[in-house]
């Protein structure tokens, strides 16, 4: 069993190496084949033809952060739901209602966020 699990993730490792090799190969191919010419304005950031003012380290609105927090909550919930989903029929009624309570609490959290106006994109 252990070796079988290991065997599967060997393929994952090789897939990752393959992906890296493919991108690196394409970039090296580009390095060999492409022309290169230095020019004064080539390295200027593209901004529809205007010269950019300042750097782009602009501040990002707070609402992105709130959505990220909400995402974190529900993503962790999903991680808990997967093992439950494949075993709740064997565990029976009790396991189902426990999960209903869990989902209920999180749904209440979503409702609270909704009421507070977090979900409104202003």
């Amino acid at each position: 069993m252990t070796s079988e699990v290991f065997d599967v993730y060997i393929a994952v490792l090789i897939a990752a190496i393959f992906g890296i090799a493919l991108v690196a190969g394409a970039l090296i191919g580009n390095l060999v084949l492409s022309p290169r010419q230095k020019s004064e304005h080539k390295g200027v950031t593209y901004e529809c033809g205007m010269l950019p003012i300042g750097r782009s380290r602009a501040q990002v609105h707070f609402r992105y952060y709130l959505f990220a927090i909400l995402f974190l909550i529900f993503d962790i919930e999903a991680v808990f739901l997967f093992p439950w989903a494949v075993s709740f029929v064997e565990l029976g009624e009790q396991a189902f209602y426990e999960m209903v309570v869990f989902i209920g609490i999180l749904a209440f959290g979503l409702l609270y966020a909704w009421k507070k106006g977090v979900l409104k994109w202003r």
């Binding site: 393929a11 992906g19 782009s56």
Partner: protein
Amino acid sequence: MTFLLADNVWLDALLRMAIVGMLVPVGVILLTWVERKVIGRLQQRLGPMRVGPYGLLQGVADTIKLLTKEDVRPDSADRPTFELAVFVIVVPVFMAAVAVPFTSDIFVRNMALGLFYFLAVSSLGIVGFVMAGWGSDNKYALLGGVRAGAQLISYEIPLILSAVAIAMLGQSLSLYTLVELQDDTPFIAYQPLAFVIFVIAGLAELYRQPFDIPVAESEVVGGPAVEYSGIRWSMFQMGEFVSLVLISALASLIFLGGWIWPFSADNATWLQVVLMAVKTSAFILFFMWMRATVPRLRIDQLMALCWQILLPFTFLQIIINGLVLVYEWPDWTLTILSGAAAIAMGTLIYRVARRSGVLYQTSGATQRVGSVL
């Protein structure tokens, strides 16, 4: 595992990945041609016609052009982030391809946690978009990158939870087992609501129209990819097309019965390949059709659709599944409950979309202007 291409597991994995690695560029070149042709025909144009018969070699010509193009990087860009972003976008796509079986024989690895692994790995690409947006030192790219982050993480949740609904029905996370359970009836018949949510969320995960807010040309001129040129840009394209194929393949595996339905479990290999190819291309063509038909959503509409409509309905689907499976109600109750919920969701989306416009007084009548529908 049915057979090994080589005795050694390392060599076997290497050979299988080599086949995938060869198919991917060819597939991507072909798919770009298909997409341009399909969109062209839908807009009553011919699409590419010049290079090769019916423009078939257009993709090859584009690849050569991109490969021989100068690699321009802004002077002020953050070099490591800028260069690594391409890898972070492409590598997870290859890793996700490991878990997706194409027929009962043709797969890289048959994972016991295939569904979970696929969803986990395919969401890694989000980091790449944020990195590309931040590393480019471009205001449009930054905006696009942050939007990509917000959109992709939001739609991740309905996508994952509709997959949870399928896992509940099949009591398994192995894609192989889930397909084998669908020899009579595909899961779409029991889970119409989960199917609709999965397709909408999948479309948003692929950031294709109508969900192309992160890369919208008319808003953020290409989003995170704006500073990438030549072969680097084509890596973005490759990531997008391979995930298009993978999401389509996943949808046909878990909802349409993969290589089995509508025939029996011991189909001949050629029949399995044909079945999967037909189902996967149907999804791909549907995604392309959407691109040519539906106008782009606004970002507030996008977020509202995800958090206020799709997410509560996914919870509803999970509760319905739980009730029916725990109390062992007959299968058709699942169809009816889920179907009714799907119709309710469709009606709700329709009504909200109708309401989104502004009332506008013309001579005599009041008209609604600017609604999504």
